[in-house]
Subunit: 210 residues, 2 copies
């Protein structure tokens, strides 16, 4: 276990905690006080760390994700869905009213996208549109569609990239880890670029003092 | 104050808390136990609520933002910067190493963008690139530039929209409120659309069971 800790850069106490929580299987016993840990443990530990540190996913939810990863009867699509649905941002406020939900339903229908009726992104979008509406900043449907159409080919590229990052499209643990880091970190890249673009646009318009 | 509470939908106890914290000025006294609150209080309260509920900004930071809003010698650009810099996501991990920071500097120089050296978006971008690199998913510089170029005209549009939402470009309180809701909620719109696009792309590739 000291070796596993060294290779994964995860403290021994933390590894033991994951074992108590049932996230990480025991090693293969080699003596009364020793056990062997292999690549399987190392890769599983990497996935757990990505979920904890990058995804900020609670332990109970990590258990559900690992159950989907371990169950080969769960399709890769449903497994990746379990990963994506576990990732924030969560909405503190109500997820919009009927009007907002209808806007989201119509948008998805027009785009012809295959999005589950229980996808948290539906509520996130409806709630955000409701907030924009309440603050007087209406988002026109054409604007939403335009943005969606820019994002769609990037998402296809991203899903294709998952397999490169995982190096093997049937490696469910590596695919899940690549999904967590890709989804969360790339969202931050977009947010950071967007904030910089706003700053530059504001500098052009408002930088003169007074 | 009961009237202010009714019109703003903020409980009286919360309004009193903001007054104790120095965020909201007292009303104009009209009798020993009564004070008059006007539009100025209502609009300031709306800004505070947007910062608390949508921006999840702590009270000490709200105090700094209001100081910039109240000081006419702070340019609109610096005021909006104070608002934007207060909004998450914060990075839990180190903001990347020298290599990542250099990548960000070079990107901003190539784009010719006017971005302050202390902008939190720089650290957010460097840290996200570091995380992607550590997970084996390198983001090519050309990809970053391409994304930045898509986002720039949208940001210009957004900054222009601020003034419409504020109805008056010199109304610093209304501009700040529109900035908070616009920045946070529109980021959620993008994240939601992106997650749906991923789900659709994954459905096309992985939905078959097994």
């Amino acid at each position: 276990m000291a070796e596993l800790s060294r290779r994964s850069e995860v403290p021994v106490a933390t590894i033991k905690y994951y074992q108590r929580e049932g996230l990480l299987p025991p090693g293969t016993p080699t003596a009364a006080t020793r056990a062997e840990y292999g690549e399987v443990h190392l890769r599983r530990l990497r996935l757990i760390r990505a979920l904890v540190e990058i995804g900020e996913v609670p332990v109970a939810t990590i258990r559900q994700i690992l159950a989907a990863v371990d169950d080969p009867s769960v399709s890769l699509h449903d497994m990746l869905g379990t990963v994506q649905y576990s990732l924030g941002p969560k909405l503190a406020e109500p997820a919009g009213d009927d009007q907002d939900r209808r806007t989201v339903d119509e948008l998805i229908a027009e785009l012809g996208w295959n999005v589950s009726s229980i996808a948290p992104a539906r509520a996130l979008l409806a709630g955000s549109l409701a907030g924009l509406r309440r603050s007087g900043a209406v988002m026109p449907a054409a604007g939403l569609r335009g943005f969606a159409e820019v994002l769609r080919p990037l998402a296809a590229q991203e899903v294709a990239t998952l397999e490169q990052a995982a190096a093997d499209s049937t490696d469910r643990v590596a695919l899940s880890e690549a999904a967590v880091t890709g989804i969360v970190l790339f969202e931050r890249v977009i947010i950071a670029l967007r904030r910089m673009a706003q700053e530059d646009a504001s500098a052009g318009r408002y930088a003169a003092p007074g």
